[in-house]
């Protein structure tokens, strides 16, 4: 299988927040690639940098506190970090679209569904009148909003949670983006609605060939929808690989701990394995591995230096001293 040139290349991305309490290194050297049609899951706890990574890709990091201080974000070979604000506005919504966690707050309660779905189409494709209406209806029916014509004049409060998230997704996909960033898209949905939404996302993605970055803290979602997974901790990717590989051979102690601490439906009620301690303070990161204080496999070297990248298998990498016996000497 010849590897096609990746759609997105992120190299050593660094986004820091400059606060009174010091510099919080929210994203601190993140690199990954993504091909067309592929789904990469970004997993980690709150504060691990997954959302800030996504915001950095579309240059929506809250300024002036937050700043992208280094790295490259290449979309089809063009560095998004070098683009002007006006150029970025043409990228957002057209080439890269986002779906956020809570559709109640990401939709405008005062505008009709038709207006909101049509906004991107008007701005990016200059559509008006009947052709605009046709595309709006098309976008809504692709996300299985029933009777879309009757729905155009309605407001978000007239929709249920699951439908609102489908409307958000219809907006995101309306201009046929190359990359869709979905930031915890199902966290506010019920389990049954979540299952519906994830199925639909997979279908729509396959039909449109769009690449997806799926931010989540739920390994169930990773298992269902992701081709590859990147586990983040304290602003860095600590392990990345094909989903099946990472589930079967988790190589970073943090990934192993995350996978072990999930209560499983099919299994009885033995005590859950905990990860002791708390995530580190991002403005006071240690010199060595930031997971070391919570790590069951901590060694002397872990406090000395950040572990190098260790290749486990084809496309499966981790940053851990314990996985790199040769590198220790």
């Amino acid at each position: 299988m010849a590897a096609p040139a990746p759609l997105l290349v992120v190299e050593d991305l660094r986004t820091h927040f400059f606060t009174r309490h010091g510099v919080a290194r929210a994203v601190d050297g993140v690199s990954f690639t993504l091909s067309a049609g592929e789904t990469l899951a970004l997993v980690g706890e709150s504060g691990s940098g997954k959302s800030v990574t996504c915001l950095s890709l579309v240059r929506l990091v809250p300024e002036p506190a937050g700043r992208i201080v280094g790295g490259r974000v290449l979309l089809d070979g063009e560095d998004l970090l070098q683009k002007s604000r006006a150029e970025m506005r043409r990228v957002r919504g057209k080439q890269i679209a986002m779906v956020l966690q809570d559709p109640m707050t990401s939709l405008n309660p005062a505008l009709t569904i038709g207006t909101q779905v049509g906004e991107a189409l008007r701005l990016h494709q200059g559509l008006r009148g009947a052709s605009l209406r046709e595309r709006i209806l098309d976008a809504l029916s692709r996300l299985r909003i029933s009777a879309p014509a009757a729905r155009l004049a309605q407001y978000p409060h007239q929709f249920s949670g699951g439908m609102r998230q489908r409307v958000s997704s219809a907006i995101a996909l309306s201009c046929a983006p190359r990359l869709l960033i979905a930031d915890e898209p199902t966290t506010s949905l019920d389990v049954t609605i979540q299952a519906q939404y994830l199925e639909l996302l997979k279908e729509v993605q396959a039909a449109a060939g769009v690449a997806v970055i799926l931010v989540t803290h739920d390994f169930g979602i990773v298992a269902t929808n992701a081709d590859r997974v990147a586990v983040m901790y304290a602003g860095r990717i600590v392990e990345m690989g094909p989903t099946l590989q990472v589930f079967d051979h988790p190589s970073h102690p943090y990934t192993r701990a995350l996978l072990r601490c999930l209560p499983e439906i099919g299994v009885g009620t033995q005590e859950l394995v905990e990860i002791g301690g708390q995530p580190p303070d991002l403005s006071r990161l240690p010199r060595g591995c930031p997971f070391a204080p919570r790590c069951p496999e901590r060694q002397a070297i872990c406090d000395e230096a950040y572990p190098p990248m260790v290749s486990i298998d084809d496309g499966h990498v981790t940053h851990c001293w314990a996985a790199a016996p040769a590198a220790r000497q």
Partner: protein, 321 residues
């Protein structure tokens, strides 16, 4: 097992009024519509269902934050409607609550000591030193340091805040704690800590829990008995293990199959439910689940299924049985 808290045919209907509808309600939301449940001493009753199923309203009825429209609630065999002031005060000490979001359930302007001591009655006969000792004791019980008492909530992480909320619930030495989605707002790695803590406390203190959850795995971990709710009604009850091993009601089956697998190669047979939870002002006639049910029979459309004990300890309301 003697019932500690027992609800019989509980109903809670909320009026829907228009902007200036002086003539009374235009419609009624039947949030809880004929629910009978009981919780025994020291056991955990799990209540699961989607949003809009009435589980949170049921929790509010248990906490006496809402009064039932109809039906009876009794505690230790005594009907709450017959409670005098002293009974009520005793009930509030014996039944405590832990809520979902520890960011909004703790007052940011109060120190942890005030927060945790708040449920103690004013005339508790305890001196300040004694209150302080009691607060320190429960903080240690939930795995926080005694010195935490002097701090404010913003100085704690989400998991630690939920520990503070649990300490507040424990300070009156309750017999029952209503846990409303106690881990849904927390990170996965912290969830395990809190679930283990709740389980340990139950063992040490002999507490009974009512755990409201849409997280089926978390409910499974704590609950001994399970109540599955749909559109204001109970559709199935039974011992937790039995319900998970062999769900009887088609809704329970769909709910369990909608839970995501924990491994990518676990290709379970999925029943993906179409549609949404029905509008609570005009629930469908017959069985409320029939518009989404894959095994619906003709009578499901018109006839409400009766509550049946299908086998010992397992009851469901479904025409299939």
């Amino acid at each position: 097992m003697a019932a500690l808290l027992e609800g019989t045919d509980l109903r809670k209907h909320f009026p829907v009024t228009g902007g200036l509808a002086l003539g009374g309600a235009r419609a009624w939301i039947r949030a809880v519509d004929g629910v009978s449940v009981h919780v025994g001493e020291g056991e955990t009753l799990g209540i699961v269902g989607e949003s809009g199923s009435g589980k949170t309203t049921l929790a509010k009825l248990f906490l006496l934050l809402e009064r039932p429209t109809a039906g009876a609630l009794s505690f230790d065999g005594k009907d709450v409607r017959g409670f005098d002031r002293a009974d009520l005060a005793r009930y509030r000490r014996a039944v405590q609550a832990v809520f979902q979001d520890p960011y909004s359930s703790l007052n940011p302007r109060m120190r942890v000591e005030q927060i945790v001591a708040e449920p103690l009655p004013r005339d508790n006969g305890m001196g300040r030193a004694e209150v302080r000792r009691r607060v320190g004791d429960v903080l240690e019980l939930v795995g926080l340091r005694r010195e935490s008492a002097a701090l404010y909530p913003h100085e704690f992480s989400g998991g630690q805040r939920q520990r503070i909320a649990i300490a507040r619930a424990l300070v009156t030495s309750p017999r029952l704690i209503v846990l409303d989605e106690p881990v849904s707002a927390l990170d996965v790695s912290i969830r395990a800590q809190i679930l283990n803590l709740l389980k340990r406390l139950q063992g040490e203190l002999g507490l009974a829990y009512v755990m409201i959850s849409h997280d089926l795995a978390a409910a499974r971990y704590l609950a001994t008995r399970l109540v599955v709710m749909y559109a204001g009604k109970v559709v199935e009850t039974g011992a937790c293990d039995a319900v998970y091993a062999e769900p009887l009601h088609p809704y329970t089956q769909a709910l369990l199959s909608a839970a995501l697998p924990l491994h990518p190669s676990a290709r379970r047979q999925r029943i993906v439910l179409g549609g949404e939870v029905p509008n609570p002002t005009s629930p469908p006639p017959g069985c409320r689940f029939h518009p989404r049910c894959q095994s619906a029979l003709p009578q499901c459309r018109s006839e409400e299924p009766a509550w049946k004990e299908v086998r010992p300890g397992r009851s469901t309301a479904c025409h299939l049985y």
